[in-house]
Amino acid sequence: MIKNYLKIALRGLAKHRSSSLINILGLSVGMAVALLIGLWINYEYAYDRFLPDYDRVYRLKRHYTLDRVYTSNAISLPLVDLFKNDIPGIQYAAEADWGGSAHSLVVGDKKLYLEGTFVGADFLKIFQFPVIRGNAETALSSPNTIILTASTAEALFGEVNPVGQSIRFDNQQLLTVSGIVEDPPANSTLQFHYLIPFTFMAQNMDYVRQACTDWGMNGFTLFVRLAPQISYEEIAPKIENLLTQNSPKTRDTKQKLSMQAMQNWHLYGKYENGKAVGGYIEYIRIFGLIGFLVLLIACINFINLATARSSHRAKEVGVRKAIGSKRKHLIFQFLTESFFLTSCSFGIALLMVYLALIPFNSLLGSQITMPFRSPSFWLIMVAYISITALIAGSRPAFYLSSFNAVQVLKGALRGERSAVMGRKILIVLQFSCSVALIISTFVIYRQLQHVKDRPTGYDQNRLIMSDWSEDISRNYQALSDELLKSGLIESVARSSSSATNITFFSNIDDWAGKQPGSLSLEVAAITISSSYFETLGMQIKSGRNFRDQLESDANSIILNEAAVEKLNLKEPVGQTITWFENQPATIVGVVENAILGSPFRPVEPTVFTPKGFYASILYRLAPQVKTQEALTQLAPIFERYNPSYPFEYEFVDQAYAQKFQLEVIISKLSGLFAALAIFVSCLGLFGLAAYLAEQRRKEIGIRKILGASAAQIWVLLSRDFLLLVLISCLAAIPIAVYFLENWLEQYNYRITMSPWIFLIASTLAILIAVITVSLQTIRAGKTPPVKSLRTD
């Protein structure tokens, strides 16, 4: 019997080619969008789950209260021993540095400048990255060793076995390679090119030695693996108050500890009031919803075209009923057809997704693949096809099978009125989704432009930054002199933060006019040289810059306007504050606000100090020099003073643009999906308009004989559709506003949604719908009436 159903379906497809094409194409696009988004969601959910025992791995979180509760991964080192020794249920604990800082690795004439992590001895027992060479148990046990990833090992040693070989690290120490691990995959939160024992850091870096006993130096992270059969709920009460119990100074800010499970790191990064409330998961949900909506729009096409064309199938239903078919047979037949059509569309969708994956991956920086060899993938796909076939096919199946045999055999089709109303409701649903997506695209784009156009407060043009190193530290003066002398650079400065990231925060504890009992103010702290403001092009609003001689300005600070405002200082210059471990400092100047952190947030209150460590060298190309030539000539100068590092640099404007990466992706994706949604909706409208024009052919002929013009026929056939699209626009606006207000809320610096956006989006949707419908209705209007009547 199924063979008979499929035969009918196939022959029907061939007979009504254009509507079949509309159905299959629309459903293919809808299924492709949903499948692509599904694969992406699966990829995001799989983050960090590739490691064995991932569900027992946690990262420590510290919560502290200032004006609100802040949550940070940064912890102090004295906690490490407590976690290793004193808390039952914790199998392993490993400290690590912040990660992500780059160092130089030199072997012979091969120089690499790569990011790696300093990790505690049990790191590889917690994160069981596959060890290719060496022993995971002992590879991190002695300080002057290094574990390389496979790609780093190959870049440095080629085919030679690297274990036991030496690497010159930061042009200072020799490290012996103790093991090789596989490269972390792209969907790993932890990314590194090498691992170095944390004991090396403690031996060679003063601040780390000091941090080992200092409860206030929160610059490290702690990873933990729970013993088998131990739940986090058992551990949580034991660790919550460890800080306040051991370190009195943490009590002021009510510091508490918790842990976050590894499977939640990627998706639940946002904490509010000490609890994980969301993060990337919100995008997963939004795009999951979009995928479903585009699929639904395509299914609606199927439903509408099937019910609109029901008169073509009515006779068949009547005949089948007359020769003994039960209703369930007919429902099964129409669902089989839907399943068949959905399967064809799925095949095309699979091809579309396969082709789209390359640009999609490059846009998202992901490595999503089609898991063709996974049986579970195919099982899920069978379920996907079946569910889609049911959504698309149920309404037509129940509607068509309900026909009364006598009536349809007589040629009188009853129940059309309810079908027409159903179709109208579905069209409104389709276009509401499409218009809501168009509005969202506009709002996301406008928000992106709004933030991009935000004045940065400094000049990014031709401004370059390179990472600091021990060699640059030793040779800074000579390097800076030579750079200026070369004529390639008009200004050079050093700082503890790059121009686009603030890496260090501190507190201002006391200041003139502070209300008794009020809390400290958290501020960004940036160590700078006196040439910093000139190099970045920041204006000093009052007071003065630092002097070149550090000694005379050791206790001076410069505030930005945001800090002055937060401290509520009327005459800031000359006043004294207490900050950073109770040090007094005198405000010598106020500089205008500049966005040195997130462009989406208000400018951070910032303290500039001449005292501290450096992490970046910033320099601006002279106006007349050509960029590429300048960079070629700068390389040997840097290599001379920074010999163990390759010359690496980053343009500040490009680094700043990177900050919008997520928003650019969201903007592009929402634009793409909105376009596909409106395309699929219009495809349905096109098919429906064609069918309805054909159905009203006789009426059109008579009207024309009675004197109706082509324009009047166009209005007659188009107005119902346009009314529906208009209703859709009105329905879409509140839905879009609800979602977009939630989305915009995460940005402090954001647009307000003006009515213009809704008007433009609605006009666009109506215009597209008019064009689509007109393609059919104009043709109907132009057909000579005799032809319409003769062929009827």
Binding site: N4, K315, I323, V406
Partner: protein, 225 residues
């Protein structure tokens, strides 16, 4: 075989109520060939639809082989149609997407007949109605007479006890009409009960008995054999 008593049927639209059958009674014996005649709108087709269990009467009793089927639900009616009744329509009502062979085979599929048996029976019936040579053609490729022969073949494929024919020659020329009537006569001679609605006195003469209707009631009967 068929026994109906006091059958009534009314059609309602929003504003108008039309009485199609008004307390009609009729008996049809096994093996009988009955022609039903009357002016347009007298309720002939409605009667045929009720006899064929395609439509429900609003009142009265309908006994089929002595069993009251008036209150049967749609599923049981479908089963009865499949087992006992074959239909021949004026406009043939073949499914355009199926070939001649597939159209005739369809009732057997619903009846769950195995493939080998199906092939045998379809070929036998197609041969009998002399349309075997067009077995792979689609209905739109056939003449009206050929289409009606296919429809007759489809009606008899399940070997029904009753064939209900609604103006079987209404869309045919006289030669093709005669051929179809000849077919029906042969079927009747082999034992099939036939109830035929017709406007044609010529066709009616092929039957055993003519029942004349007016305004939803039988008004006269004439026995021909």
């Amino acid at each position: 075989m068929i026994s109906i008593h006091n059958i009534a049927k009314r059609y309602r639209t929003d504003e108008v109520e039309t009485t199609a059958l008004n307390g009609l009674s009729l008996e049809v014996k096994p093996g009988e060939f009955v022609a039903i005649m009357g002016p347009s709108g007298c309720g002939k087709s409605t009667l045929l639809n009720i006899l064929g269990l395609l439509d429900e009467a609003d009142g009265g009793q309908f006994l089929l082989d002595g069993i009251d089927v008036s209150r049967y639900n749609e599923n049981r009616r479908a089963e009865l149609r499949m087992e006992k009744i074959g239909f021949v329509f004026q406009n043939f009502n073949l499914i355009d997407e199926l070939t001649v062979y597939e159209n005739v085979e369809l009732p057997l599929l619903y009846n769950g007949i195995k493939a080998g048996e199906r092939k045998k029976r379809v070929e036998y019936v197609l041969d009998k109605v002399q349309i075997m040579h067009r077995r792979n053609h689609y209905p739109t490729q056939l003449s009206g007479g050929q289409q009606q022969r296919v429809a007759v073949a489809r009606a008899v494929i399940n070997q029904p006890a009753i064939i209900l024919a609604d103006e079987p020659t209404g869309n045919l020329d006289s030669q093709n009409g005669n051929e179809v009537m000849q077919l029906l006569t042969e079927l009747n001679e082999s034992g099939t009960t036939i109830v035929m609605v017709t406007h044609s006195e010529h066709d009616a003469r092929f039957s055993h008995r003519i029942v004349r209707m007016l305004d939803g009631q039988t008004v006269a009967e004439s026995v021909l054999v």
